[in-house]
Symmetry: C3
Subunit: 389 residues, 3 copies
Amino acid sequence: MTTNKGFCASVCRCFFEYSTPQILVIRSTKVGTLNRIIQALVLAYVIGYVCVLKKGYQDTDGVLSSVTTKVKGVAVTNTSDLGLRVWDVADYIIPPQEESSFFVLTNLIMTLNQTQSHCPELPNVGFDCVTDSDCKAGLSNTRGDGVQTGRCVNFSSVARTCEVLAWCPLEGDMQPPDPPMLAGAENFTVLIKNSIRYPMFNFNKRNILPHVNKTYLQHCVFNRVTDPDCPIFRLRDVTTEAGEDFQTMAVHGGIMGVQISWFCDLDLPATWCVPKYTFRRLDNKDPENNVAPGYNFRFAKYYKNINNKETRTLIKGFGIRFDVMVFGQAGKFNIIPTLLNIGAGLALLGLVTVVCDLIVLTCMTKRNLYKENKYSYVDDFELLPDGTP
Amino acid sequence: MTTNKGFCASVCRCFFEYSTPQILVIRSTKVGTLNRIIQALVLAYVIGYVCVLKKGYQDTDGVLSSVTTKVKGVAVTNTSDLGLRVWDVADYIIPPQEESSFFVLTNLIMTLNQTQSHCPELPNVGFDCVTDSDCKAGLSNTRGDGVQTGRCVNFSSVARTCEVLAWCPLEGDMQPPDPPMLAGAENFTVLIKNSIRYPMFNFNKRNILPHVNKTYLQHCVFNRVTDPDCPIFRLRDVTTEAGEDFQTMAVHGGIMGVQISWFCDLDLPATWCVPKYTFRRLDNKDPENNVAPGYNFRFAKYYKNINNKETRTLIKGFGIRFDVMVFGQAGKFNIIPTLLNIGAGLALLGLVTVVCDLIVLTCMTKRNLYKENKYSYVDDFELLPDGTP
Amino acid sequence: MTTNKGFCASVCRCFFEYSTPQILVIRSTKVGTLNRIIQALVLAYVIGYVCVLKKGYQDTDGVLSSVTTKVKGVAVTNTSDLGLRVWDVADYIIPPQEESSFFVLTNLIMTLNQTQSHCPELPNVGFDCVTDSDCKAGLSNTRGDGVQTGRCVNFSSVARTCEVLAWCPLEGDMQPPDPPMLAGAENFTVLIKNSIRYPMFNFNKRNILPHVNKTYLQHCVFNRVTDPDCPIFRLRDVTTEAGEDFQTMAVHGGIMGVQISWFCDLDLPATWCVPKYTFRRLDNKDPENNVAPGYNFRFAKYYKNINNKETRTLIKGFGIRFDVMVFGQAGKFNIIPTLLNIGAGLALLGLVTVVCDLIVLTCMTKRNLYKENKYSYVDDFELLPDGTP
């Protein structure tokens, strides 16, 4: 029982003990100044970089966003096939709606009145022939436009190619028109509506700012200097800001990024949280290694003629895809990251001693004096009895 | 050689040295209690917040997801233009497939039998005229619907406007029908199939849970209380849960977010990892600043008439776009983050001494006793010879 | 004034003070070895794991990417309805362009010449009837294909069902053809163009590498061994690499992920930064719980017949959606993360003392000798006057 009591007392005494390192204070102008300079550097880093620049006292949240776009404008084309023709939004936006992207047709190669029938393959794609034996019935490969019938027919007065079952007449293998057919697309405008949300802070905002009214929206066009808050962009301006020429890009097509960034400090007034627009070409034009440039795809409009036979108009459409990309981060004061950063800062101050010790104990003239005072020794060497230095 | 030997021995001795700080133990109930309280706070933070709440002992991985959707239902409209007409999924889902989003047409303004021809512009959009000189041949701007021919013609008995080459007749500038044409869309259902994967843990799951069989899927509809595992959602329920009225939203259209969250603790049984569905309106309806509300776009169906002339039906479609957004994070025990967090916790314990010292050496009555024992001094002042305090 | 001077001097003296912990050096082979081993472990962790494996000396940036795809190939079908028919890219890619995804039609159920009219519902979906009173005029629910007229009519010689207003004739409720209609789709190829950007390092690259020229691109097909840099993929190869059989998958459809990863160490030459392609099936085929397998959707082609009445061809399309997913992270040397990691490493070295002390002061035979030298005591106990241990 006595041992028990003694044990209890011992635990109790232990509980009320407080251990703190013994400190040697060196009073020296040199060492002291060195110490304060290094401390100042660490403090400057902690306060300047972590707290002010990186806003370490804030909790941050990523942006949630929804985007809708609406293009306006008409373009006119005049070709021998179609005559004078007007193209409006239902004609040149394909598909009519996408999640955060829109495609504007700027150039096209049209093949009218295709039907499922037989016609000769295009020459110079590997299906030239002299006799039927050069063609193989049933063959279809990725370079051909249809399934071979096995016959060799005249493509023109000079060329003979294998006959195929395909949508005939075939689309000629030609370059897109230059200047582009829908050159007027450069004057189209697009209204981009973007609602964002920072769920952690229950903060919502949209890019149509409160002071933008209906009247202003009806005539404004984005301009970085005069109309920076107008969410309506002229397509030519978008490409020009990205350092591209619209007409050149329109010939083969391409991809433009419309970047909307919402970096907000929610400790400041909410009205200071405004979107910033930047534009960049996303696909690589790389003139030196110009393999498969631009952006195009094929689509068709299907009709039935009087005999109930299906015909189609094949369109190889070149154009610019605009990808709307919304970035952002919001920060707001929160006690947890503040404490964490203060803690980390104090821990860094502990490293000051490590660095100072290194300098004091190796470079200072009185290093031996300091060493003697800083270090005590317990020797326990069996092998090397010449203990104290 | 002797120096060499001496150097070796010195390095060797140095290698077997162990430096540990000298500690002053203060045995005092006050100081000890203070010390233990601050230690307890730090431990509570490390264990409670870092380990339990933030699961600091787990490695985490972000979700990879694929989504497919399938809408079912028919709606009926009865207009003077079209008569009684049924709309099925191929009619009202535009485009027919998207990556993780689907659009349901709820309201529309249809303009039948448009052809490329001449007609007067709509009045009150800036193209009203009195004589031909008010119109400029070849002009087309983003507010107009076509290219001006330069003539001024009668729009109605009271208004004269510039003539344009366009898809005529033009779509009237009118408000969408209210109640919406496809009011029955509120009863449509959508099956959302969602497969997720946590690649780091090679964990796959889908939102059709193992106990959900084909029979149940044929009649179930999601209900937070009675059928929380049914992946089939009635569109009206989705909007209602988000606090919106379907019929009101259907008139001008809008964007709904269907959020599926998969936050899983993979240290627990895999069956506990289930999706959680929430719904939120993504676009801002903001009644005070109602510029360009809702969601709509134009698309067309193209026909050829008997004379092989192209006609089209222009549809200004209003509707609700449902964006399926999959969030998630999975955690599983891993030794690396566990050690990192224990290390960080121990480092925080080191800060306890800093705080306690501050209190002990400035506020305690016996602070001078403690100071005398804690600090030793080495003086190296040339300027201030009055050294020891 | 004297006090003021004294205070100044005191502050000044304080400023030039440098506090460093007093250290007890234990010279012992055992303790020293233990100390060095633990130090070595911590150093190995810091250098090996943090610096080498995790590249802690680098700043990292996430990838920005843009993707375009172009499918090539023709397939042929031969059905009683349509006769011999060729399908090209404009027929089987739906919609014709998407942001980073493309859908290839592989199988279909076609319902020709639908018009808005009356026809009996399909049997066995819940609308079987005996007399008109079993049907309810105006009823339309999600399982039906139209709006009931209230009449009960003969579906076939054996079954009577409610009549509906719908797009008639209705699509039969049948299984998709097996083998799939467009079995030839396995030989289609897709060119995937991917431009990436690491904005922090102003680094751009695309997956058509500099040494890939136009001639090579015209005939190459991706092969992990022989053509690992060719950005043209045969669809069958994609599914095969993912462990799926194309023909089986083509029947009901599915979703394939084409993953392009760009993990680049920009301290190395830029030419070493190349894309890595992997393929994975994203939807869950799960043969045990086969509810709603595959991927399909309905779409229609609209025509007007001679009487200007709208007809349509309804297509239930089964196919494979390819989602192109671009991952990546680039790292480059930066002084800030380097310093942070060195700091954290030094802080970890501080923990070595904690661990060694624990062992030295509890397990070593000479622990009492060490304790006497390490600890000094100040007693301040009123309750327990039996101070020094």
